[in-house]
Point group: C2
Chain length 141, copies 2
Amino acid sequence: MSNTSWIENKLKENGCKLTEQRRLIIKFFEAEPGHYTAQEVFEKVKGICSKINFSTIYRNLELLCNMGIIKKLDIESGISHYELNKPGHHHHVVCKGCGDMKEIDICPCETIANKELKAMGFQATEHKFEIYGYCRNCSKK
Amino acid sequence: MSNTSWIENKLKENGCKLTEQRRLIIKFFEAEPGHYTAQEVFEKVKGICSKINFSTIYRNLELLCNMGIIKKLDIESGISHYELNKPGHHHHVVCKGCGDMKEIDICPCETIANKELKAMGFQATEHKFEIYGYCRNCSKK
DNA sequence: ATTCATTTTGCAAGTCATTTGCATTTACAT
DNA sequence: ATGTAAATGCAAATGACTTGCAAAATGAAT
Ligand SMILES: [Mn+2]
Ligand SMILES: [Mn+2]
Ligand SMILES: [Zn+2]
Ligand SMILES: [Zn+2]
């Protein structure tokens, strides 16, 4: 009766093996919700399993993305962030000062975009909405 | 009395020199409005000025971005697109089938996001809003 | 517990877009 | 025509990410 998360069950169901590395990556996302780069995941897991390799991180991040367990965010040009894939969806407010990423639930598609899309015969599958600027702390110089 | 564009004037005002390469890059964006990768700009300009180098393309794209003449778009993970920076701003609807990028003028910030941002004391400077999916042609399989 | 097919890993090397250092060339004010 | 700052071409470097492959680990079947 280990405290196996739904994630680990989902992996098993799909014929994936539960390696220490994989467990640690998952545990990290579950224990410290946030938006992380592959580098950050690597460093965190490396603290516990020092033999882990970067390619293992990438391979597992991709696997977890494909299974819908985590989500890849292209917030910053040239570097991906990953977050646990919560039900529903949300958008981000990103501070260019401290890098903090807050989440917002307002969604442009529900309110304004959908009718425009229908008019142009476009089948939308996903969308991105991010706001950049300075948070309260960073803007008070 | 050459038909010098406002862009070339702006460059001169800032002490930039008008090289053939620079002129050609600008002319391309003006003559064929669209959303281009550095590669695409390179190929187009190379057709006229065969000695042009990729680093010249990148250096000029950055320069033109910094001067607000063109805009860098991070639509696709890992590859930047550039477009002429029109007055006002707009957003994009991107077809995952044919790659076509249509522009839309509806803006989530004007209608919904601004009050939320004010409430959280966030000073927004920019935002991104993109919709992905399949255009009329691509979705009729 | 042992066996074994299959999956996963570590490692090293490879991509690919973009950047950088530097010697040479070019633009343009004088 | 000259001088100087700016820009270019070239080659090498970067940095995030990917891939091939032999060795190791997992877990289902004995
Ligand atoms: Mn989030
Ligand atoms: Mn556009
Ligand atoms: Zn949304
Ligand atoms: Zn907008």
